[in-house]
C-alpha cells in the first residue's frame, strides 16, 4: 500500500493542467464516437486515473468514469468514511461508494444512455469480476478497448508531468546520497526515510548486494551483508509520477565512466544503438495505467518503443575495466528529433 504523502498541490498540478488533459480526452472520445471512458485504478495500476484527476488509491480499487459531456466521477470500493480524504487529494467532482465498482459504474453510465459506447482503458486486463459487473450493470452498453486511444494522448509528457518527474528524480538522488550507515539495512533505511521526508508518495529501495557475484536487484529482508561493490536502486513516486535511479557503490572512476556511457546511450533513444556493449538494458515508461511499463529492452526488443517527448526510466548494466556496474536514471526523449536527455545526473 502507499504510505507516503498523497496530497494535491494546485501549484504543481493546477486545475488548468487537468482541464487541458480532459479536453484532449473528450476530443478524442468525440472522434472515436465514445460516450464515456472508464479507467481502472488500484495501487499497482494508478497512472491512468492519477493523470486525469490526481487520485491515487492507497489501497483497494476504483473506476474513473469520464462522460464525454459531463464531469468525471469516481466509483470507489473504499468506505464512505474516506470520502473527504479522496476529495481533498484529487480533483474529482463526485465520489460514489460501492463494493462492486463495475456494477455501480455501469448503472450510472446506463442511466444516461442505455446503449452508450464505452471505451475501457486496458479492457483485456480488467479484473474479470469487474468486467462481469459492468455487463450486469449495463447489459446494453457497448464496451470496447480504449487503451491505444489513451496511450496516444498521454505519450508526450506535458510540462507539469516533466516537472513532477524532475522532482521525483531529485528526491531519489537525495535519498541515495543519504544512503549511509554501517550496514546495507541502515543505508536502505536512511534512503527511504529521506525520500519520505521529502514528500515521496512511495519509494522502493532494492539492492544488488555484491556486484562481483550478482548484478540483479532484490528487496532486502533480514540482515544483509554487502560486497566490496554493491548498488542501490530507488524507485520513487511523486504525485503520481514514477522514476528509477541507480547508485553503484564502487570505484568512483568506474562509476564515472559508466555514467558517461549511459548518458551517451540514452541520448540516442528511441534508437537502441547506444546500448551496444551493455550486458543488458531496459527502458520503462507509462503508456496507460502501469507507472513503469517495460517499453524496450535487451530481453524483449522494442515491444512498445517510447514516443517522442515521452518520459522514461532507463537501466543498464555495463562491464567497465572488468568490473560489473549497474547504472540507471530517468530521461526525457526529444519531442522533435533532438537527443534524449537525463533528468538528473546519476553521479554522487
Amino acid at each position: 500500500m502507499r504510505r507516503g504523502l498523497i496530497s494535491r498541490s494546485p501549484v504543481e498540478l493546477p486545475d488548468a493542467v487537468f482541464d487541458a488533459r480532459l479536453d484532449r480526452m473528450r476530443a478524442a472520445m468525440r472522434d472515436a464516437k465514445l460516450n464515456a471512458l472508464v479507467i481502472y485504478t488500484n495501487n499497482t495500476r494508478p497512472a491512468g486515473v492519477s493523470w486525469l484527476v490526481g487520485f491515487v488509491p492507497y489501497w483497494s480499487e476504483a473506476l474513473l468514469v469520464v462522460p464525454r459531456d459531463g464531469a468525471p466521477y469516481l466509483v470507489v470500493a473504499l468506505s464512505f468514511r474516506v470520502k473527504t480524504w479522496i476529495e481533498r487529494v484529487s480533483r474529482i467532482g463526485e465520489v460514489l461508494h460501492n463494493p462492486r465498482v463495475g456494477l455501480k459504474a455501469a448503472q450510472q453510465i446506463a442511466s444516461v444512455q442505455k446503449n452508450a459506447a464505452v471505451g475501457i482503458v486496458d479492457f483485456d486486463g480488467l479484473p474479470a469480476g469487474i468486467a462481469d459487473d459492468l455487463r450486469e450493470g449495463g447489459p446494453n452498453l457497448v464496451l470496447s478497448e480504449a487503451g491505444p486511444l489513451f496511450a496516444g494522448l498521454r505519450a508526450k509528457a506535458d510540462p507539469a508531468e516533466i516537472a513532477l518527474a524532475s522532482k521525483a528524480a531529485a528526491i531519489a538522488h537525495r535519498a541515495l546520497a543519504r544512503a549511509r550507515g554501517g550496514s546495507l539495512n541502515a543505508m536502505i533505511a536512511a534512503a527511504e526515510q529521506q525520500a519520505r521526508l521529502d514528500g515521496a508518495e512511495e519509494i522502493y529501495v532494492a539492492a544488488a548486494a555484491d556486484l562481483a557475484r550478482d548484478m540483479r536487484f532484490m528487496r532486502i529482508e533480514g540482515e544483509a551483508a554487502s560486497g566490496k561493490s554493491f548498488a542501490l536502486r530507488a524507485t520513487v513516486a511523486y504525485k503520481g509520477t514514477w522514476v528509477r535511479l541507480v547508485r553503484a557503490f564502487c570505484d568512483l572512476e568506474i562509476a564515472r565512466k559508466a555514467a558517461a556511457r549511459f548518458a551517451q546511450a540514452v541520448a540516442q533513444l528511441p534508437s537502441d544503438r547506444g546500448f551496444a556493449g551493455f550486458t543488458s538494458w531496459l527502458v520503462e515508461g507509462c503508456r496507460t495505467t502501469q507507472p513503469l511499463e517495460p517499453l524496450m529492452g535487451s530481453r524483449f526488443g522494442a515491444a512498445n518503443p517510447p514516443s517522442p517527448g515521452a518520459l522514461v526510466s532507463v537501466q543498464g548494466f555495463l562491464t567497465i575495466d572488468g568490473h560489473a556496474v549497474p547504472v540507471g536514471a530517468p530521461a526525457l526523449l526529444g519531442a522533435q528529433g533532438e537527443a534524449a536527455s537525463l533528468l538528473i545526473d546519476p553521479s554522487w
Binding site: 533505511a189 529501495v205 517495460p294
Partner: protein, 368 residues
C-alpha cells in the same frame, strides 16, 4: 527459512488441489492483493501484476509483466520458473492452451484478467478462491511463527511511534520515521494508516501534511510483515494529558477489545466475536457507532495479506478454527472524543486466543 516456508505452502496447496481434482491452478496477484500469488509462488510482488501457475505435483511457474519485478523474482524465488511477459494474460493463455484438457481453476478468480477468464478461450477456469482461502486462513506452525515475529516487530515499532509523535511534526514525517525504523531492522513491508486531531477526525488515512498539535488524539494501525506475513497493532495516544472525556471513551474500547478476545475460541463464528465487541458499545448507548457509517470491520484475518478473511462483522458466518491469526479491533468513532483505535493480534488456539501483541492497552500520553 523463507524458502522452507514457501515449499511447505506449495505442498499444502498441491495436496488441496489433488483433493479437489484440480490439475492446474492459476493464482493472480498484484501489490495490493498479493497473498494468493505469494502462497503458491513465494514471491512478494511490488509492481505490475503477476500470475503463478501451479501444478498438482507442486511445480510452479511465475509470469510477471514488470521486467524489474521479473528480475527480482529470479533472485528472490529461486524454486519458481520465472517468465517476463509484457502481456501476461496471453502468455498464460498460451500455456493453458497446452493443458486445456485438464481441470483448471483460478484464485482469486474475480481478479484474473478478463481476457483470460473469457469463456471464448479454449479452456475454462473454475473458481478455486474458496480452496485457497481456507489454506490462507488456517496457518501452519511455521506460518504462525512468522506472524508472531511480525507482532513482536509491531510492538517495537509502536514504541518508536510514541517517540516519533511530537507537536509540530507532520503526519508523513512520522510515517517516514516508522518506515526507516522497520527497514533498518530488515522488515521490508508494512501497512500503516494514521489519524490525528479531535472530534472532527472520522477515521485513518495515509499520512497528510497536517501537523500534530497539543491535545490531538493520534491513532495508527501498524502492520509490519515478516516473510510476507503481516501482524497488526492498533493504538491511540494523546498529545499532552488525556482529558476525562478521552479517558471515559477509551475505557469503552478496552472493554470491547477484552470482550471480543474473550469470545474467540474454536467453533464460534466471526459474527460472535463482532457481537461481543458491539454489545459493549450498545451497553454504553453507543450502538450507532458500530454501524458501517462509522466503522468498517471489528477486526479481520491477518497473514499474507494485511486485511484478509475472515472479516469480523456480525454477518460473517466463518467458523473460527485453531491456527487462524486475527486482529480484534473495535475501532470506531466516539462522539465525545473522536476516532479511537485499539486492537491486538491473536492466534486462535484450542483453548481460546493467544494474544501476540504485548504493548499495554492504554491511552498513551506523549509530551505536548
Amino acid at each position: 527459512m523463507k524458502q522452507k516456508l514457501g515449499e511447505e505452502r506449495r505442498r499444502r496447496l498441491a495436496a488441496a488441489m489433488r483433493e479437489a481434482g484440480v490439475d492446474h491452478l492459476v493464482l493472480y496477484g498484484n501489490a495490493w492483493q498479493g497473498d494468493y500469488l505469494r502462497y503458491g509462488a513465494d514471491f512478494g510482488i511490488l509492481e505490475g501484476h503477476g500470475i503463478a501457475l501451479i501444478t498438482a505435483d507442486s511445480a510452479a511457474e511465475l509470469y510477471l509483466d514488470s521486467a524489474t519485478d521479473a528480475e527480482r523474482a529470479e533472485v528472490e524465488a529461486p524454486s519458481v520458473r520465472v517468465h517476463f511477459a509484457p502481456d501476461i494474460a496471453r502468455a498464460v493463455g498460451a500455456r493453458l492452451d497446452r493443458v486445456a484438457n485438464t481441470r483448471l481453476a483460478a484464485a482469486p478468480r474475480r481478479f484474473v484478467p478478463r481476457w483470460l477468464a473469457n469463456p471464448a478461450r479454449g479452456f475454462a477456469l473454475d473458481d478455486a478462491t474458496a480452496l485457497v482461502d481456507k489454506l490462507l486462513m488456517l496457518k501452519t506452525e511455521s506460518e504462525i511463527a512468522a506472524v508472531r515475529r511480525a507482532a513482536q516487530i509491531a510492538d517495537e515499532a509502536y514504541a518508536e511511534f510514541l517517540k516519533a509523535v511530537r507537536p509540530g511534526r507532520r503526519q508523513y514525517e512520522i510515517v517516514a520515521d516508522m518506515e526507516a525504523h522497520l527497514r533498518a531492522r530488515g522488515c521490508p513491508d508494512n501497512f500503516m494508516i494514521i489519524g490525528s486531531g479531535g472530534k472532527d477526525v472520522l477515521g485513518m488515512t495515509p499520512p497528510s501534511e497536517r501537523r500534530i498539535a497539543p491535545g490531538d488524539l493520534v491513532t495508527t494501525e501498524l502492520t509490519p510483515a515478516v516473510e510476507g506475513y503481516f501482524a497488526q497493532i492498533c493504538r491511540t495516544l494523546v498529545v499532552g494529558k488525556a482529558n476525562d472525556a478521552q479517558r471515559r471513551a477509551f475505557a469503552v474500547f478496552v472493554e470491547a477489545l477484552e470482550a471480543g478476545i474473550a469470545a474467540v475460541r474454536p467453533g464460534v463464528r466471526a459474527a460472535d466475536v463482532a457481537r461481543a465487541e458491539n454489545d459493549v458499545f450498545r451497553k454504553h448507548g453507543l450502538g450507532e457507532y458500530t454501524t458501517s457509517q462509522w466503522t468498517r470491520v471489528r477486526g479481520h484475518g491477518m497473514g499474507l495479506f494485511a486485511d484478509s478473511k475472515p472479516h469480523i462483522l456480525e454477518d460473517v458466518e466463518t467458523v473460527l478454527e485453531p491456527g487462524m491469526t486475527l486482529i480484534v479491533h473495535p475501532n470506531t468513532y466516539h462522539p465525545e472524543a473522536g476516532y479511537i483505535v485499539l486492537g491486538d493480534a491473536i492466534v486462535v488456539t484450542e483453548g481460546g486466543a493467544e494474544v501476540l501483541c504485548k504493548t499495554p492497552r492504554q491511552l498513551f500520553e506523549v509530551a505536548a
